[in-house]
C-alpha cells in the first residue's frame, strides 16, 4: 500500500487545496441565496479546468488524462471533503466513468466534452425506496418502443437533483439491469427537493413517468446486463466518498486539537486535561484507521482486487460511523460555540450525517459483509 504521495500527487494535492481555499468559503454555505446555482456553476467550470472531471476521460480517444485516475481522484476528493466542496465531484465522475466504459459513441461525443470542461453536470439516480442502495432495490424499468426506450420509476436521494443536467438512471429492461442517461428537463421527469441536513449539497427524489430515451442514450450494450458496471460504479462512489469523509474528519479533528490547545480553563489549556487527551488519542486511532482504509480501498479498486467489495463494506462501515461519532465529540469539546449557526462545526456534522447513509449506511454494509463471508 502506497501511503506516501508521489511528487506529482503532492502537487495535485496542494493545487487542489489552494484552489478550494481561494474559491470556496464555508460562510457561503450558511448564506445560500437565489443566485447560488450560478455561483456553483462558475465554481464547477473552474474546478473542471483543473482536471477534476476528466481523470477517466480519454483525450481524443488516446489515453485518459490521468494514468492513475482513481488514486488522483481520491486525492482531490480528500481535499474536497476538507472544504465541504459543494459541486458534485463524486457524482460527475461516477457518470463519466460509466460513460467512458459503456457509453455509445454518440453519447460520448455529445456529453464527455461538456462533463470534462464543467459545462455539463450529471448525477447518478440509483437508490429507490427508503435507503434502497442495493441493486436488488431497483424497481424502475424501461421498455422498447420503436427507436426509443420508455422509462418509468421512482428514484430517491439523488445528489444535486435540482442542479444536475443529466441523470444516469439504473433500471431494468426485462430481466437485465440497464442504465440510461436522461436530461433533467426531459418530459416526464419530476423532482422533489428534499429537506437535507447537509447544507453543502442539494438532494431530491426524482420520478420518471413515461420518459422517452433515445436508444443511443442507453449506457451499456442492449441485451447485456449492467450488473458489473453498476457494481463498479458503486465501488467508485464508496471509494471517493470515504476519501472525502476522511479529509473532512482529519480537518475537524485537527481544528479541535488546535482549539483545545488555545482554550484556557482553570489556568491551563483544556488540552492538558487527561480526560480530553485520552479522548483525542482514541479519536486519533480511529482517524488513522479511516485514512489507512481509504487508501487501501482506493488501491484495491484501482487494481481490481477480487476482495474489493468486502473491503468497501468494511471501509464505509468504519468511516461512516466513526466520522459522525468523532465530529460529534469534537462539538462537545468545542462546547457551546459549536452549537451556533456561525460556527463551522455543524456544517461538517451535517454533511457527515448525510454521507453516513448516502450510498449505503454502516448498518446495511455490516449486513452485506455478513452475506459476503457466507453467514
Amino acid at each position: 500500500m502506497n501511503v506516501e504521495l508521489t511528487e506529482e500527487q503532492r502537487l495535485l494535492q496542494s493545487t487542489s487545496r489552494q484552489f478550494l481555499d481561494e474559491t470556496l468559503s464555508l460562510d457561503a454555505l450558511r448564506h445560500r441565496s437565489a443566485n447560488d446555482a450560478a455561483l456553483t456553476r462558475d465554481f464547477w467550470i473552474r474546478a473542471a479546468a483543473l482536471g477534476w472531471t476528466s481523470m477517466f476521460v480519454p483525450d481524443d480517444l488516446d489515453d485518459p488524462l490521468s494514468d492513475s485516475p482513481v488514486r488522483d481522484l481520491a486525492i482531490v476528493a480528500e481535499e474536497a471533503g476538507r472544504s465541504l466542496e459543494s459541486g458534485s465531484l463524486l457524482e460527475c465522475n461516477v457518470v463519466a466513468y460509466a460513460l467512458v466504459n459503456g457509453g455509445s459513441r454518440e453519447v460520448k461525443t455529445q456529453l464527455l466534452p461538456g462533463l470534462s470542461n464543467g459545462s455539463i453536470t450529471a448525477s447518478w439516480a440509483f437508490a429507490e425506496g427508503v435507503d434502497g442502495w442495493s441493486k436488488s432495490d431497483v424497481r424502475s424499468s424501461a421498455t422498447v418502443d420503436g427507436d426509443e426506450y420508455v422509462l418509468n420509476g421512482q428514484k430517491s436521494t439523488v445528489v444535486a437533483a435540482t442542479s444536475a443536467d443529466y441523470f444516469l438512471v439504473t433500471a431494468f429492461v426485462g430481466d437485465d439491469l440497464a442504465q440510461f442517461l436522461v436530461p433533467r428537463d426531459a418530459q416526464g421527469v419530476t423532482i422533489t427537493r428534499l429537506d437535507a441536513l447537509d447544507l453543502s449539497r442539494d438532494f431530491g427524489d426524482v420520478s420518471f413517468h413515461d420518459v422517452r430515451v433515445a436508444k443511443s442514450f442507453r449506457v451499456g450494450a442492449p441485451g447485456e446486463s449492467a450488473d458489473n458496471a453498476v457494481e463498479r460504479q458503486w465501488l467508485l462512489a464508496i471509494t471517493l466518498q470515504c476519501a472525502q469523509m476522511g479529509g473532512m474528519l482529519d480537518r475537524v479533528f485537527n481544528l479541535t486539537v488546535d482549539y483545545a490547545q488555545d482554550r484556557y480553563a482553570f489556568g491551563r489549556p483544556i488540552a492538558s486535561y487527561q480526560a480530553l487527551k485520552h479522548r483525542f488519542a482514541d479519536h486519533k486511532v480511529w482517524l488513522e484507521a479511516a485514512l489507512g482504509l481509504s487508501t487501501g480501498l482506493t488501491e484495491a479498486f484501482a487494481n481490481g482486487d477480487p476482495g474489493v467489495t468486502e473491503l468497501a463494506c468494511v471501509v464505509k462501515a468504519h468511516v461512516g460511523d466513526r466520522s459522525v461519532e468523532i465530529i460529534s465529540d469534537c462539538a462537545q469539546i468545542f462546547g457551546g460555540i459549536s452549537m451556533t449557526w456561525e460556527h463551522d462545526l455543524h456544517l461538517y456534522l451535517r454533511r457527515a450525517t448525510v454521507d453516513r447513509v448516502l450510498y449505503g449506511s454502516p448498518t446495511q454494509l455490516r449486513e452485506r459483509l455478513c452475506e459476503l463471508v457466507g453467514l
Binding site: V3, E4, V285, A289, T295, L365, L375
Partner: protein, 423 residues
C-alpha cells in the same frame, strides 16, 4: 541504531532466496495442523519451549535463522523483504511454537545489538539464534507498572559485582527461559530516571526465587521473581551505569516494532497456542453453532467484529509508512498498540454476546467454551505491554503534542520521593 543496513550487492536476490527457502521448508518443516489449544499449564509450556528450541536449531542449521541479524553474530544479514518472503514460505508450516522466541529475537536480541559490548554480543546473540538461550525482560514490579521508573529493586555495587535485591513481576514465560535483562536502581540520590541500570541475569542464579502466577483462567504464563543477594559481575551491565532508562526506552521501541510485525524476529508475533483458524472463522462458527446467525442484532455485532479485524492491517501499514518517512513521530507505534488491543478486546466481547449462555455454561466437550475463557482474560491485551491509558498518554503528548501531565517526582532525588511516600 541496530545495524541492519546491508549492502545490496552482498545480498542474495529475493527470487533465489525464495526458491531456496521454499525447498528447505518443504523438506524440513512439517505442515501445520490446526490444534485449538485450550488452557495451557506450566507443563505444556515446557513441552512447547522444548519444541521451539528444536525447531529453531533446525532452522539455524539450515541457514535461515536471524534473517535480519548481522552475519558476524550468526545471522543471515538479509533484508525486510527476505523476512517477509520467509514468513510467506513458512505460513503453512508447523512453527507456532516459535512464538516462544519472539521476545528473545524481536526485543532482547535487538536491544543487546544496540547497547551490548562486543563480548556480550558474541556470547549471547548466536546462542539466541540457535535456540539455546531464551531471554525475558524483568521490568515491572509489584509497585511499579506504568510508572516503571519508580521501581525499587536495588543493585548495589561492591567492587566487581552488583548485589541485587528486590522483586519483579509479570515476566512472561520466565520459568522456561534462561536469561533476563533486569532493570534495577543503582543510585538513590538522583531523580528516578537517572539512577537505573540494565543488567544481564542468568535466571537460575543463586538467590533468585521464581514462581509462576496462576491467571484467572487457571493458565500460568506469567511469573514473579524474588532476588536475595544475587551476585552479578559488573561486566554484565548493558549500556552505561545509571543510563538504564535509555536502554529500556530502546527495548520498548523494539517491542513496539515487534507488535507491529516489523522487528528482527523472523516470524510475525503470533500468540502462543492460538489456533491456526482465524478468529474471524471462530466467530462465524460460534454464531452458526449457537443458532443465531440469522438474527439481525447478531449480524450487526459480527459485522462490527469483521470491520475491526480487517482494519488492522491498513492502519498498521499507514502508521508504519508515516513513521518511516518522518511524517509521524516514533510514538505513533502507540496508535497501533491501542488500535490492536481495543479491537481484540471488543472482538472477544462480541463473541461473548453472540455466544450467550453457550460460552459461559458450556458442556465438557463443548468447544465454544473457549470463547468464554478468552473473554475472561481479554483485558490482558489492554494492560500488558503498556496499558491503554499509557498508550493514550503517549499518543496525546508525543504524537499530537498536547501538554504533558504534571509529575511531582521527576526532578527530586529518588530517596526524597520515597521519604515523601512514607509520610
Amino acid at each position: 541504531m541496530t545495524s541492519v543496513n546491508v549492502e545490496e550487492a552482498d545480498v542474495e536476490d529475493l527470487e533465489s532466496f525464495n526458491a531456496r527457502a521454499r525447498a528447505w521448508a518443504v523438506e524440513n518443516l512439517p505442515v501445520a495442523v490446526d490444534n485449538v489449544q485450550a488452557r495451557a499449564d506450566a507443563e505444556d509450556h515446557v513441552k512447547q519451549v522444548a519444541k521451539a528450541r528444536r525447531t529453531q536449531r533446525l532452522i539455524f542449521d539450515g541457514g535461515f535463522a536471524g534473517l535480519r541479524y548481522p552475519k558476524e553474530y550468526g545471522g543471515q544479514g538479509l533484508t525486510r523483504e527476505h523476512q517477509l518472503a520467509w514468513r510467506e514460505v513458512t505460513s503453512d508450516r508447523d512453527i507456532g511454537c516459535l512464538s516462544h522466541l519472539k521476545v528473545t529475537h524481536g526485543i532482547m536480541g535487538p536491544t543487546l545489538l544496540d547497547f551490548g559490548t562486543e563480548e556480550q554480543k558474541q556470547r549471547h546473540i548466536p546462542a539466541m539464534l540457535r535456540g539455546d538461550e531464551l531471554w525475558v525482560q524483568f521490568l515491572s514490579e509489584p509497585n511499579a507498572g506504568s510508572d516503571l521508573a519508580s521501581l525499587l529493586t536495588r543493585a548495589q555495587r561492591e567492587g566487581d559485582v552488583y548485589i541485587l535485591n528486590g522483586s519483579k513481576i509479570w515476566s512472561t514465560f520466565a520459568h522456561v527461559s534462561d536469561y533476563a535483562l533486569v532493570l534495577s536502581r543503582t543510585n538513590l540520590d538522583v531523580p528516578k530516571h537517572s539512577g537505573l541500570s540494565m543488567l544481564i541475569l542468568p535466571i537460575r542464579s543463586k538467590g533468585v526465587t521464581l514462581r509462576t502466577i496462576q491467571l484467572a483462567t487457571g493458565s500460568a504464563e506469567f511469573c514473579e521473581e524474588f532476588f536475595d543477594d544475587v551476585f552479578i559481575p559488573v561486566s554484565d551491565i548493558v549500556g552505561q551505569e545509571n543510563d538504564g532508562w535509555s536502554v529500556v526506552m530502546r527495548l520498548f521501541f523494539h517491542e513496539r516494532n515487534m507488535v507491529g510485525g516489523n522487528s528482527l524476529n523472523d516470524q510475525d508475533a503470533a500468540g502462543v497456542g492460538e489456533s491456526a483458524v482465524s478468529t474471524e472463522e471462530q466467530l462465524l462458527a460460534l454464531a452458526r453453532s449457537v443458532g443465531n446467525s440469522k438474527d439481525s442484532h447478531t449480524r450487526q455485532l459480527i459485522g462490527e467484529a469483521l470491520v475491526l479485524d480487517r482494519l488492522a492491517d491498513y492502519t498498521i501499514q499507514r502508521v508504519n509508512a508515516l513513521m518511516k518517512s518522518g511524517a509521524m513521530p516514533g510514538p505513533g507505534a502507540s496508535i497501533v498498540k491501542l488500535m490492536r488491543s481495543l479491537s481484540k478486546y471488543r472482538f472477544k466481547e462480541i463473541a461473548l454476546e453472540v455466544g450467550g449462555a453457550h460460552v459461559v455454561l458450556s458442556g465438557p466437550d463443548d468447544e465454544v467454551g473457549g470463547h468464554g475463557h478468552r473473554w475472561l482474560v481479554a483485558r490482558i491485551g489492554t494492560i500488558a505491554g503498556g496499558s491503554s491509558e499509557m498508550q493514550r498518554n503517549a499518543i496525546s503528548e508525543r504524537v499530537l503534542g498536547l501538554p504533558r501531565d504534571h509529575s511531582p517526582d521527576t526532578q527530586l532525588p529518588f530517596r526524597d520521593v520515597l521519604a515523601q511516600r512514607q509520610r
